[in-house]
Symmetry: C2
Subunit: 288 residues, 2 copies
């Protein structure tokens, strides 16, 4: 095995390139906007050659939407339960042991299906590297928030909530007279949103924010935090949490989820999402 690995989190909009050593240390990291959408009609092989010139001629593992139908090569999902071995066995090797695309994970129950691409790496990394217990409930906030049940380091089951995307839709398309203000984050308004969001009456709550603005009960400043609380509160409350949750996120969004989880009677540990990704890619590489 090579002493170093280029691990790429190649998402829809963003791309993160990590240069890792065998200890899981991140030697170099670069974020850019060259995600799947920016790559449309462009050559992934040439792009990888360019990345290897920049970072070194090391093996490359790719996770995320680059492995989807709209990306480079569509790699079929691995069904739950999914261990690191299950995932490694379904890597699509563009060049054996040199350039591989990690599959996403799916779940197919009698009443619902769900999918992930990229998040599985963080889930396995956090679990296998001991950042959380191996039988934890894990939460990955973002555009689409994933909630995953782990057991023995494998992904047993998961469900996705449309949180970040709905927040953007409501914020950018017509929710509020006078708009929202992205200045200082108002913690009191956030917690009031979390409380209301737990009522199970999401549709009335979001209209209520509009009415509150008209009566001066909310300002442009605290509406952003309140709306964020409404959505996160509805998400967390629907999980019926009275247990420990590992929240894989950046500190700000992780802190918001941890606060909402505590408000709903649970406890949370925030796990750094980039460290979890690095550990996951290393575990996948070492099993391959």
């Amino acid at each position: 095995l090579s002493s170093k690995l280029l691990a790429i989190d190649w998402g829809t909009t963003n791309r993160r390139v990590y240069l890792l050593d065998q200890s899981g240390a991140i030697l170099l990291r670069e974020d850019d906007d060259q995600g799947m959408l920016a790559m449309r009609g462009r050559n992934y092989v040439a792009e990888l050659a360019r990345i290897r010139i920049l970072y070194g001629d090391f093996p490359v593992l790719i996770a995320g939407m680059a492995g989807s139908r709209e990306g480079w090569i569509e790699v079929p999902y691995v069904s739950c339960p999914a261990s690191v071995k299950d995932i490694v066995s379904k890597i699509h090797w563009v060049e054996p042991q040199r350039t591989g695309i990690v599959p996403g994970v799916s779940i197919n129950l009698s009443d619902r299906s769900d999918i992930m691409r990229g998040e599985e790496v963080q889930l396995l990394g956090a679990s296998l590297a001991g950042m959380v217990d191996q039988d934890s409930l894990l939460c990955q906030p973002g555009t689409h928030c994933k909630w995953a049940e782990m057991d023995g380091g494998a992904i047993i089951s998961f469900i996705t909530a449309m949180t970040g995307e709905l927040y953007s839709l409501l914020k950018n398309h017509s929710l509020l007279p006078g708009g929202l203000d992205d200045g200082v984050f108002d913690e009191v308004a956030f917690l009031e949103g979390v409380s209301s969001g737990g009522s199970g009456d999401f549709l009335a709550n979001i209209f209520g924010l509009r009415a509150a603005r008209m009566f001066g009960r909310r300002t442009a400043q605290d509406s952003t935090a309140y709306l964020s609380g409404l959505i996160i509160g509805a998400d967390v409350n629907a999980r019926s949490i009275h247990r420990h949750v590992g929240v894989i996120a950046d500190p700000f969004l992780g802190g918001l989820y941890a606060t909402a989880i505590a408000h709903n009677g649970g406890t949370a540990t925030i796990v750094d999402s980039q460290a979890a990704f690095a550990e996951g890619m290393l575990a996948i590489w070492n099993h391959s």
Copy 2:
């Protein structure tokens, strides 16, 4: 009193002009797109003169968003409980007994505020004309669905759910790969949506539709009906209905709500929204 009345439902986007006689009969009715938005920067006085030339020189009563800050003249809300007498006493008379703007209704509780403009006319009309019992729960589906508790023909309390607007947001902005198909309405898919929508997990349900599409569990054809069911199901379920509801709507949307109400253990009567508006305007006129 004049023998005839011009009653105008002057909304944000649409406008409906009714010529009514004292029996509540609709002698003429015209719908157009000259709502508040189309009237921006234009002269309401000149527009009313044009309407009187077309329909006759009768008294005019206006309800809806024309009475809001962005409309012709801002008429303050009447607070709940709101009877027909309360509303009549707050009509803004542009010309006494000749051209009046009906106020909207608001509710201000310790934990929430809510507002309506235009819906109050239908609520009073349905109740006072005996189309529903005077102590009914009334439901007005639409862009923003109103649920109102009536007592003795007055509006005691109400709450608004962001149903139609959220449906449009999700439909037109990015929800589904491959889009939605507005062809034949699939009743089975609608009822499945109503069932899922009652789970209280709205955020996961809407992402679930995307995943279902990716796995071929839903088609472009039945996704429209399923999404509609999800939203209506979430709305109706949040009302904890095990009683009779008067649904003031057109027959199609009214039928969807009646179906969802029955699914949640209630019963429903569909009340024609235009007849309710005509009765409401006539009652207001006769009390003024």
